[in-house]
């Protein structure tokens, strides 16, 4: 199977973001970067499928030079080669929207004729959750999102989708297809020393997007939300406090 895994490099998940001067993005100079977590699970799934069915895993990412870090990490874990879409809208710092990314990725990936394209369900920074699905549309491939399990028997594909409230659904579709993968569906492997050594010799092909992108979303302003992360200690007599807690969980936190 020829599998593509699309990765995004995002600021470290637990980094407390600081705003840039324009207050429309974060200060990338202050940030450390890592592979988007759902994409890491997509990569792991891709590597497992390769182990099962043979073939190759090609990782793709769009972004500036620093993106090579996550491509190398993926190669160190077992991906065979990488495609780095860089230049144009991906040259500098700042956010790029899903349409621009998906269009550029689709352009770089079409000629490869992948059997399966995997990506995380959404990114840890912007979190629009669009790139994978837009990519499917641009590639003209069927797709499924928030996938918990993949059963590939080429040319057939059967996947388990996550639905609301503890419901699930199996969906079948023909390969080639695009899947967006849910976090936590497998156990991520670590980069072994041999993998890291081998990664140094693997190919990262640089590709420049051709067309000028049409941006569909701009961020007018980025700011910290009013609520801070302090613990809300509910005071009062037990019965009253309990009642108030239930109310808060229902109305404020909306978890009940």
């Amino acid at each position: 199977m020829k599998i593509a895994v699309c990765l995004k490099q995002v600021p470290t998940r637990d980094w407390q973001p600081r705003l840039d001067d324009a207050k429309t993005w974060v200060r990338e100079q202050d940030a450390t970067f890592e592979m988007n977590e759902p994409d890491a699970y997509a990569l792991e799934e891709g590597l497992r499928l390769k182990e099962q069915h043979g073939g190759e895993v090609v990782v793709c990412s769009a972004g500036p030079a620093r993106v090579a870090q996550v491509l190398r990490e993926a190669l160190a874990r077992g991906a065979d080669r990488a495609i780095h879409v860089e230049g144009g809208p991906f040259a500098g710092a700042g956010s790029t929207d899903a349409f621009v990314v998906a269009t550029a990725l689709a352009e770089a990936m079409t000629s490869e004729q992948f059997d399966l394209v995997l990506t995380g369900l959404q990114s840890d920074d912007q979190g629009f959750g669009q790139t994978g699905v837009v990519l499917a549309e641009k590639l003209g491939l069927p797709h499924a999102t928030i996938v918990m399990e993949v059963q590939a028997t080429p040319p057939a594909l059967r996947v388990k989708r996550e639905l609301e409230g503890g419901w699930f659904q199996w969906v079948s579709m023909p390969l080639p297809a695009v899947l967006t993968i849910q976090s936590g569906i497998n156990q991520l492997r670590y980069a072994t020393l041999k993998g890291i050594m081998a990664a140094k010799k693997k190919e990262i092909r640089s590709v420049a997007p051709s067309a000028a992108p049409v941006v569909k979303i701009t961020i007018a302003s980025l700011y910290a939300p009013e609520k801070t992360k302090k613990t809300h200690l509910v005071e009062g007599a037990p019965a009253a406090a309990a009642k108030e807690l239930v109310r808060l969980l229902r109305e404020e936190a909306r978890v009940i």
């Binding site: 998940r13 407390q16 973001p17 899903a98 840890d124 920074d125 979190g127 629009f128 959750g129 669009q130 790139t131 994978g132 699905v133 837009v134 499917a136 549309e137 069927p142 797709h143 999102t145 989708r161 996550e162 639905l163 409230g165 503890g166 419901w167 699930f168 659904q169 969906v171 079948s172 297809a177 936590g184 049409v214 941006v215 569909k216 979303i217 701009t218 961020i219 007018a220 302003s221 980025l222 700011y223 910290a224 939300p225 613990t231 809300h232 200690l233 509910v234 037990p238 019965a239 309990a242 009642k243 807690l245 239930v246 109310r247 969980l249 229902r250 109305e251 936190a253 978890v255 009940i256």
Partner: protein, 329 residues
């Protein structure tokens, strides 16, 4: 005109639709709002929706549209939007919407803003264009004001619970319902879905639980566990525990949360009588909302809890169970 795409399954309306209608009415500011229902045999759902103060309810009813598939829904809605020509399309940000909305937007080559929590900068004309949509970024650490670019329609999905369903303005009379004809080539639908199901509860899989009630040494004795179970039941939650409870055999090992047990990330993690030692913490720190009930105000669990009560869980938990019995206001 603002178009709201309702969600239904098997003839049952997804209540989140009302929130999207509330958002549409806010955005429209007096201008027309249309609601569309997609599926097969949706007449009763349409009738239900007609209670809102909207211009009309349109049904996009075809056998090929049941069950839901992204291919089918994208094709149908693309045609509908083409015909209806709304300035903005609003959907609730459900699992289903997340599955097809980006495809629809790409098909239309139009902007899509997902997971919107508020709308700002409304213009008097009420077309919805030039408006700013507020949504979370960086896992809620920051909030963004986002502006969709390009021509209408813009597609918006509203975060569940951000807009109040009870603020939907009802119509004085039922809105008219009409059918919209779309052509769906069933053969072009590539997905073949099976019936949705809930996981059989053979094995405990805490990692999939949406809500967890977890007990620690504060529960004192095995005989007191039923109290925690009652709270779990009232919350439709799974019961879990910290290591000493499982070591003592009061609960099976599969219910242990921590670095030597399960790692969980539910929407709600309620820690009863758990101090929050680091080996427990690393197993549940990913939970969205952590609630802690503990006698010790210095317990480390309060460092990570969003809500907490310092007190005796034997007083608090029964009161919570009572409070949960009465319905929401």
């Amino acid at each position: 005109m603002i178009l709201v795409v309702a969600e239904q399954r098997g003839g049952k309306l997804n209540r989140a639709t009302w929130e999207s209608i509330a958002a549409a009415q806010q955005l429209a500011a007096g201008q027309p709002v249309t609601v569309a229902v997609v599926g097969a045999g949706v007449a009763s759902v349409a009738a239900e929706l007609a209670a809102a103060q909207v211009q009309e309810v349109v049904t996009i009813d075809a056998p090929a549209l049941d069950p839901y598939t992204p291919d089918g829904f994208t094709a149908a809605l693309a045609q509908a939007i083409d015909e209806l020509a709304p300035s903005t399309v609003i959907l609730p940000h459900t699992y289903q919407t997340r599955d097809f909305a980006p495809k629809l937007a790409a098909r239309l080559d139009r902007a899509l803003v997902t997971d919107v929590t508020a709308i700002k900068g409304l213009r008097a004309e009420g077309s919805g264009l030039g408006v700013v949509f507020v949504r979370p970024m960086f896992q809620g650490k920051l909030t963004a004001d986002v502006v969709p670019q390009g021509p209408a329609p813009h597609v918006i999905t509203t975060q569940i619970g951000s807009f109040r369903a009870d603020q939907v303005v009802r119509g004085s009379a039922a809105a008219p319902v009409r059918a919209l004809t779309v052509t769906i080539d069933a053969a072009s639908i590539r997905q073949k879905p099976e019936a949705p199901f809930q996981e059989a509860r053979q094995a405990v899989d805490l990692s999939q639980a949406e809500r967890i009630v977890s007990v620690g040494r504060g529960i004192k004795e095995q005989g007191k566990l039923p109290l925690a179970q009652q709270l779990a039941d009232a919350l439709h939650a799974e019961l879990a525990a910290s290591r000493p409870i499982c070591d003592a055999g009061w609960l099976p090992m599969e219910r242990q949360v921590g670095s030597s047990g399960q790692t969980v990330a539910p929407k709600l993690y309620l820690a009863l009588g758990i101090s929050g030692a680091i080996q427990h913490l690393v197993g549940m720190k990913g939970s969205q909302t952590i609630v802690a009930i503990n006698k010790d105000p210095d317990a480390p669990i309060f460092e990570v809890a969003a809500y907490g009560i310092v007190g005796d869980l034997f007083d608090i938990v029964p009161a919570m169970i009572e409070a949960l019995k009465s319905p929401t206001s």
